[in-house]
Symmetry: C2
Amino acid sequence: MGISVELVRKFTILELLNYVKRQRILTLMVQFVHPATEDITLAGVLSALADPMRLRIVSNLLQKNGCMSCSEAAPCPDIAKSTLSHHFRILREAGLVRTSKIGVGHRNILRTDDIETRFPGLLNRILEFVD
Amino acid sequence: MGISVELVRKFTILELLNYVKRQRILTLMVQFVHPATEDITLAGVLSALADPMRLRIVSNLLQKNGCMSCSEAAPCPDIAKSTLSHHFRILREAGLVRTSKIGVGHRNILRTDDIETRFPGLLNRILEFVD
């Protein structure tokens, strides 16, 4: 009986650990919302770019042509982290930026191929006018 | 003294009429806000176009290439007049549309030359993707 209770306890703890692990994985999975290429809309892209700061972030990402942290892509160094997060969320949800977690940091890349597939030439034409 | 009072009265009435006339002219003048070409901003234009209905209104105006009333340029006939007015106000304030009063109606034209001066090729590239 003693062993049985021990087993039940063990299972419960294991199940609990698994549950926590699953929840953490789910949290990581739902942390960043990236629309599929075919779900990227013109109004959504224009709306995401309709802000001077986001225009400069996207322009920086395009110029560097690689992975950048939020603060590396920021137009100036004294922007609040929460403000940057907000801008990156809007860019991500419009399908312009893909964010992934590397270590403890976030890395962002511009979804140039996806945007080019949906709206050929649009992004470059818009970014031409960013100073 | 009687004539003098009459004169004062006449002047007062004339001044009052002029004041009313001036106020009416001012009201008509400030009725539509159109930014100067150099004040048209990229973020402003993108923001005004970041809506499926406004994209279609601008596309209609470009295709017809002339003066249109708000309802003529509307993407579908059953849109509330207030909704249309709201969309036209946003387009006007971004510098995309110029509205003038002709008789009792409003006529709208696309400010293609002004937009082309500020952002060459931008408007046509965006409108390519409007269905």
